[in-house]
Structures are given as structure tokens and as C-alpha cells.
Point group: C2
Chain length 123, copies 2
Amino acid sequence: MPPLDPEMFDPACPSSVMPIRIGEKWSAMVLICLEHGPRRFTEIRTPLRGITPKVLTGTLRALERDGLVTRTAYLEIPPRVEYELTPLGRTLLEPIAACRAWAQNHLPQLLEAREAYDHRVSG
Amino acid sequence: MPPLDPEMFDPACPSSVMPIRIGEKWSAMVLICLEHGPRRFTEIRTPLRGITPKVLTGTLRALERDGLVTRTAYLEIPPRVEYELTPLGRTLLEPIAACRAWAQNHLPQLLEAREAYDHRVSG
DNA sequence: GGTACTTGTTACTTCAACGATACTGAGTTA
DNA sequence: TAACTCAGTATCGTTGAAGTAACAAGTACC
């Protein structure tokens, strides 16, 4: 087995700027909500039970900044704002799906291991 | 377009217990280091330039807890400890690869969008 | 005797994400 | 005149991950 290449990870590590994290609280879920077309703020908020407007705003702003979603505000009363996936954002659905599939198939095993470990270390 | 299913995400959200995060600082990189066989603490540390021993220890413990790596300590002087992927940990390499591929192909576009956004909002 | 090697530990600090709660503005409805 | 709608802001507090720095233990090497 050859030694590890000391340069195998870029010092300005690409992964550190990745927009979403598997297991991150909200970003991936927001993108999934937009899968089938534009959605409104309140509409996204519903399935993400428990997300506060402040956090959802922050999440959406981050996704917008990274060119993954667009924000369109209509000058109406009451206000209407629509969020939509960009083509770039849509490409992210694929790796997200791979991760969701992994979770689907292996999460029970992971949780079992975790429980067994916790049981070993502290009764 | 049908409305979003309010139940589409489990309240005990599976993704919130996912062991790695795309873009997380270290977990995915550690798993990748173990791809080709068992590695020692210092060996892993080298390509992860900048990781402190405390953080690497914590990362490895978390992966061990989740049943993704095993830790084998040999009673030698100086001490020798080997970390190795479990079969479960090995299955995670696939979604990680999908995410790395995404980053490889689309990161420049994302960074470009980010720069343009930052330029717009604060000159 | 002093230093290095290996795999960590401990104490302290910093920072960003997350969260709870309350509030805003403009018009429309009851 | 009060309540309601939507898309957020404002303020404050909590939490966890990460970072810094120093230290440890046993043996081998100089």
C-alpha cells in the first residue's frame, strides 16, 4: 500500500466551500423542496417544521449567493416571493439523492452501532 | 404543481444524524484517507495539513462511534494505532465520491456566482 | 542527561449556526 | 377598528465544532 499523498487535499480545500452538508440542518431539504418548481417562503416553511423564519431566510440567502436558487419578489400586497432552483442548483439534486439513498439503506446500521458504542462507554 | 407534503421530512430527521457533511472540515477526508487500507494516526494527519491532534482524535472517535471505522491499538513502544474502514464505512465512499465529482465539475461556477453576488451587495 | 518519537489528553478560547420570541409594514377583509 | 396576510427583521441566548497551547508516558538514540 503506497503512502498517502501529502498533497491529496488542496490547502484551499474545495470541500470547505461546498454549499450544503449531508446532515446539515436545512440546506439540502430546502433544495429538495424546490425540486418540482418555484415555491414561496411560507410554502417551504411548512414541511420544514420548526425552522424559524430567521434561519430559513439565512439558508435561502446562502443558496442564492451560491447561485443555486433565485429569488423573485413580486410587488403585491400581501407580498409574494418565489424561490426557484437554478440549473446549477438542479445539478446538486443528484449527489443529494445519492446521500439520501445511503441514509435510507444504512442509517439503521449506523444508529445501531452508535447505540452499542454509547452503551459500551457509559453503561 | 401539487403542494408540498407537510410530512415529507421525518421530524426525527434522518439527515440530522448523518455522519458526514459535504464540505465538513474533516470527516469525509478522513474516510477517503482510509480508502486503500488501514492507516496510522500520524499518517492520516499528514495530508490533512493543519488538523490539530485534538480535532483528528475527535473526528476519528465520532467515526468509530458510528461504526464507520475501527481503531486497533498495538501494545508497543512507541505506541501504534491503526484505523480502518468497516464495511459500513466503505459504503459511504460512494456518495462521497458523488459529492466530490459534483464539486469537481461545478465548484468554479459556484464560486463565480458567489463572487458576483458579493460584488453586487457590497461593491 | 537530554531529546525525540507516537498517540494522544486537558484546559481555555473563539466563532458560527441554531433557536425562541417578538415585532414590522401595507393593504384588505370583517 | 380590529384582525389577518406574507415575508420577513430585531434582539437575545444556547450550543457545538474548531482552534491554541501545553503536557504526558515509556523507550530509544546521541
